[in-house]
């Protein structure tokens, strides 16, 4: 039986802890600074140029999100739980009248709240600059991109928590998170490119292999929101637009939601099972 009051209490503490975490503060400042710099670079003069400038800024923000958000979400998700486990605070917390589902969910919600704060701060500053320059032609599209960034952050956080359920030391969790980040951001793309060249992969297969990566889902859906087509993404983008048309964006959103729910569900399952498992002879 899940007690939502427990979830609120622990999530509130996790949110406060995360916002006081010095690495989180550094990240927030860095993200906001870069978002601000990118938005400040647009120089509006004339409607056509303004539109191009907005698109360029939004695309730059998407690239910033693709690099930064997975890094912070994966690492903070993985180290939050593993850190509590290594230090011993988790064992003490679990000895109180709470259950494992409440603990994991509340930690997830608390950290997600901190990530949302960071994203809102960064995107908010950038949006304000763009608005002051009279440079937001599509405020709805901009807000939708922010929502997509939230979803990406949640997906990465779910993967971070999944890593944490396998890790009993902060260093292991951090290593796993960094490896997954490298894989998703760089190695995955390079691997697909290499496979495409080596195997002459058909365009539909390229698309499906590409969008298996949640980062690519975010990228496809963001560009679709900004430009209304995926021409810029080459054959895979053209294939996706022609094959799925207006249902592509909902499909990508469902894909992102699956990347949130499945890893988190698996993490919950493993975390609940761990009271029956043993790692190095000690049940944590």
């Amino acid at each position: 039986m899940i007690d939502f009051r427990n979830i609120r209490i622990i999530a509130g503490k996790e949110l406060r802890d995360s916002l006081r975490n010095r690495w989180f503060i550094v990240f927030t400042i860095a993200f906001a600074g870069l978002a601000l710099a990118l938005s400040g670079l647009s120089q509006p003069s004339g409607t056509q140029l303004q539109l191009a400038s907005y698109n360029r800024t939004a695309a730059s923000l998407v690239n910033l999100v693709l690099l930064f958000i997975p890094l912070i979400s994966l690492t903070i998700g993985a180290t939050n739980l593993a850190g509590d486990r290594e230090v011993g605070t988790l064992t003490y917390l679990l000895a109180q009248p709470v259950n494992r589902v409440e603990v994991l969910l509340s930690k997830y919600i608390g950290v997600a709240g901190a990530l949302f704060t960071t994203l809102t701060f960064g995107f908010g500053l950038a949006g304000m600059v763009l608005a002051l320059q009279g440079n937001i032609q599509d405020a709805g599209g901009y807000l939708f991109t922010v929502i997509l960034a939230y979803l990406l952050a949640l997906a990465m956080l779910s993967l971070g928590f999944l890593i944490a359920t396998f890790s009993f030391r902060i260093a292991t969790a951090l290593g796993g998170a960094l490896f997954l980040w490298l894989f998703l951001v760089f190695i995955g793309d390079l691997g697909i490119m290499g496979t495409v060249i080596a195997t002459q992969m058909p365009v539909d297969a390229i698309f499906w292999v590409t969008v298996l990566n949640p980062l690519q889902m975010f990228k496809f859906s963001s560009i679709l929101t900004i430009q209304a087509n995926l021409d810029v993404l080459g054959p895979a983008g053209l294939y996706a637009t022609s094959q799925f048309g207006s249902s592509l964006l909902p499909l990508l959103l469902v894909g992102l939601l699956i990347w949130i729910v499945i890893p988190l569900g698996f993490a919950l399952f493993l975390f609940m099972r761990q009271e029956k498992l043993v790692y190095k002879g000690v049940a944590k």
């Binding site: 802890d17 605070t89 064992t91 679990l94 109180q96 009248p97 259950n99």
Partner: protein, 295 residues
């Protein structure tokens, strides 16, 4: 109040608890005695319902397996070394008070009870081991639970802090709380326990009264007697003639004594007109196997 039937806990190929059955009545103070690896902490983890187990376990009539959270609600738990979040004492207590559904008006009396009121704004990371244990006790007492479970609560405390802590637990037990604690300190068990469950290799070896423990385990309490070196020869002769085993160590002698015969060596030396400068009792298990020098 606590009933364990055929409690078993297996870790892969290791059996940490093997078919352990016991009952603890309300108001008792029961010691779980055993060496490291005997299964004490595993038994406590099972009582708290934080790990799976085989067999049946009920706390206050609640099945720990089916309703672990409800069982934990009637238990105050003090671990060997409590680990807290990086908050102040008052923030920490407030956090756990919310989780235990305890009114905020309860916080200050509990802090007063464990003498932490004047330190309430200190960060937990700045506290000594003794203060951290008192904080853990404060949290354990927040909801005024009928059962206190303590896992080697004084293991990391200095002698003075140990004495204070044990005194506090003794008072709580006398006030009606059921106390279950693990220990391998004889003095602690003798002062605090009303009954001892002896675990060995995961099995419940036997149970006994605290004063029976030394004999049942073949342990000794050691009487340490200080005598002026000019009388050492006479003292050794008196002890030899009366059949005492002993070990010399500098100016003092260690004599193993049974629970009901602790004064006999002193009486023997008095009869031999050997002036005794001082004496003390030492838990025998600490000496067994150690190299105590002979004169």
């Amino acid at each position: 109040m606590i009933v364990a039937n055929h409690l078993t806990k297996r870790y892969a190929k290791t059996t940490a608890l093997d078919d352990v059955t016991f009952t603890i009545e309300a108001g008792e103070s029961v010691a779980l005695w055993g060496e490291n690896g005997a299964g004490k902490t595993t038994a406590i983890r099972c009582l708290l319902g934080v790990q799976g187990f085989e067999g049946d376990l009920t706390v206050n009539g609640v099945s720990v397996r089916k309703a672990g959270k409800s069982a934990r609600a009637v238990i105050g738990y003090v671990p060997q070394e409590a680990k807290f979040y990086d908050l102040s004492i008052i923030e920490t207590v407030r956090f756990y008070a919310k989780l235990k559904r305890v009114a905020t008006t309860r916080i200050m009396p509990v802090l007063e009870q464990v003498q932490l009121t004047q330190h309430q704004y200190k960060r937990v990371s700045m506290l000594s081991g003794g203060m951290k244990q008192r904080l853990a006790l404060a949290i354990a007492l927040l909801a005024d639970p009928p059962i206190l479970i303590l896992d080697e609560p004084t293991a990391n405390l200095d002698v003075a802090a140990q004495r204070d802590f044990i005194r506090t637990i003794k008072i709580l037990n006398q006030a009606g709380k059921t106390v279950v604690f693990s220990s391998h300190r004889l003095d602690e068990v003798l002062v605090l326990a009303s009954r001892v469950l002896v675990l060995a290799g995961g099995k419940l070896s036997f149970e006994c009264l605290p004063h029976e423990l030394t004999d049942k385990l073949g342990l000794h309490r050691w009487l340490r007697i200080w005598v002026n070196p000019t009388h050492h020869q006479d003292m050794r002769q008196a002890l030899d003639e009366n059949g005492f085993r002993y070990q010399m160590n500098g100016h003092s002698v260690f004599v193993p004594v049974a629970g009901n015969e602790k004064g006999v060596p002193l009486w023997t030396l008095q009869q031999a007109n050997i002036p005794i400068e001082d004496f003390d009792f030492v838990s025998g298990e600490l000496l067994i196997g150690q190299d105590v020098n002979h004169d």
